[in-house]
Symmetry: C2
Subunit: 360 residues, 2 copies
């Protein structure tokens, strides 16, 4: 059977050429006589895999030398705790809450200090990003936290917040590697890779070296200290070797496509196909204010829950998968990450157009 | 090229028929039109994968109904912290230290309470397991902890400790699914899967339900609470979906081979080939007291570090991989987990015999 267009919010599509390479190497990686899944993480052959992955993401993102790249398990959920545990000095944390994921992060941080929600878009169900040009940043704030692309609500930042000199921490999970970013503006960028890069079970943490504190409170698990991972090349213990390998393949693929500038251009084009349709449709409309629309996650509704459900069922029957919106927004959501081909978005729009015509 | 005999302590060999199945399904899992790596963990097709994996390991190990099976990231290293954080009542933890891994676990537990080392084999470099029939168990001990098979030192327990009614917690990482165990004797059994089952990045935790405490100290990260994983079917956040899938394949393979009784028989036979050779060799000898020898990890030495190194180099040149012993024991170590075929062990012994004859 053909591969489906999978609009899942994550785990999500991976590039077919990457999957084909992985498949070809699965039993015998480059004459090593073993699968990557079977390799000692201490072996030369594996060390080369992780070293290349790091070098390639450094090149793709233009990561400055004073930043470390860490490969950590536990996903964003564990990062929600690790960030306050590792950055805590005054125990005051400023959060901008623009959706489910920044809200969860703020809630977890409360375990470790005082959380100030310095801006939120909760008043209109997180359908926009608040003005972040002049926020009441706390003088004692250890950092300012954002989720730069909210997967469920489909919003993204147009510009980064003015942190007034405080450290900026960004969860980029659902926009990771989707466009160029200026890493030097952040203290920490992290992302679970299972949306825009590879298989689940791995977060990539890009952290400015001076923020790595080897002298944490003793209640912090050894695994949860960034220093543990940093001092041991992400191999204090056995990492998710397979996910690192797969992500490394995706990094090389993105480089070949022209890097993040090229990806951004493709992503802009893809999103425009869908948003243009939504803006001209009488049946469907996007749920997010235009200027804050995510290029990656596109929620939309008909305005009637039963109709929404019927459309989801129809897309599924037509071979489009995972278009049901998250229950907190309802309706439909098309996640169109890097690996979703333009033809997939076009085919979905064609289908929705036809559906609309047939159900006027 | 042919697949090598890979004696790595972990990650380690997986059964070839399993790898072949995974390879065949890599791009399109059973007509779903997508790779398992691309599936939403909330989809029906993935739910079936994780449900079957759990059902199969329950059947293999005979896990009673009052035990939960959890799929957690972060490896044994995170478990070292999670166990005291989750089981802490009196804040007193009894540890039996029989090698590197139980020592590390005890060290981590000190962050969360008072650790009593109630027995250790440190006096003879962890080359045996101390008598555990009548230990000075603390009246207030929240649990008694063992590493049931020490990967580096190559020891295993002949019988479980008499915990005098206290909860027994066992790290079974390097013996996981190698033989039948009576789960009801344990409060918690856990194992990183990257030695005896599948790819790295996943620990399986088998925990008696009454030990799951949803009311932990607030300093415990949400991810580190067993209740978080238990209450959400190991899907509070996106799990390591790929590793769970691969482990599920291995579970089915083990069932087909006859289950853990059959595996134990094969493992006994494999280990006997190597230990018989060592016991009759004039050049090589095992480092562990006979009655505590692991069936999985077999450290051995020549008594001379240069000769050890020469032998390791010769094995490598002959196509046997990862036989270098851990630096804390020196010499060589052959890890002969479930997936190492008997022919691999026999071929290694044949090679070592020949080497010995040629270097008399």
């Amino acid at each position: 059977m053909a591969r489906v267009f999978n609009f899942s919010a994550g785990p999500a599509m991976m590039p077919l050429p990457v999957l084909e390479e992985i498949q070809a190497e699965l039993i015998d990686y480059k004459g090593s006589g073993m699968s990557v899944m079977e390799m000692s993480h201490r072996s030369k052959v594996y060390q080369q895999i992780i070293d290349e992955a790091e070098a390639d993401i450094r090149e793709l993102m233009g990561i400055p030398d004073n930043y470390k790249v860490l490969f950590v398990q536990g996903g964003a959920t564990l990062e929600f705790a690790m960030i306050p545990m590792n950055l805590r000095k005054n125990g005051v944390f400023d959060y901008i809450v623009t959706g489910t994921w920044s809200k969860k992060a703020a809630s977890e941080a409360k375990k470790y200090g005082k959380v100030n929600v310095i801006a939120t878009s909760e008043d209109r169900n997180y359908s926009y990003v608040p003005d972040v040009s002049d926020l009441p940043i706390d003088d004692d704030a250890d950092y300012v936290y954002i989720c730069e692309n909210e997967t469920i609500h489909g919003t993204t930042y147009k510009e980064l917040p003015n942190t007034k000199g405080k450290i900026l921490v960004a969860d980029q999970s659902s926009m990771f590697l989707s466009k160029p970013v200026d890493v030097s503006k952040y203290g920490i960028i992290y992302g679970g890779v299972q949306k825009n890069v590879g298989p689940a079970g791995l977060a990539i943490v890009i952290i400015r070296e001076d923020l790595i504190n080897p002298e944490l409170d003793k209640s912090v698990p050894t695994y949860c200290s960034f220093a543990t991972h940093s001092e041991n090349g992400s191999m204090y213990n056995t990492p998710n070797c397979w996910a690192i390998y797969c992500c490394g393949k995706v990094f090389k693929y993105l480089k070949k496509l022209g890097g993040l500038e090229a990806m951004n251009k493709i992503n802009q084009e893809k999103a425009a196909i869908l948003y243009d349709f939504l803006d001209n449709s009488k049946m469907f409309k996007g749920t997010v204010d235009k200027e804050y629309r995510s290029l990656m996650n596109v929620p939309f509704v008909t305005g009637d829950a039963d109709t929404d459900a019927a459309v989801v069922a129809a897309t599924k029957a037509a071979g489009f998968d995972n278009l049901k919106g998250h229950r907190s927004v309802g309706g439909l959501r098309a996640s169109i990450y890097n690996a979703m081909p333009k033809e997939g978005v076009q085919a979905l729009v064609d289908f929705l157009k036809k559906y609309e015509e047939e159900h006027k």
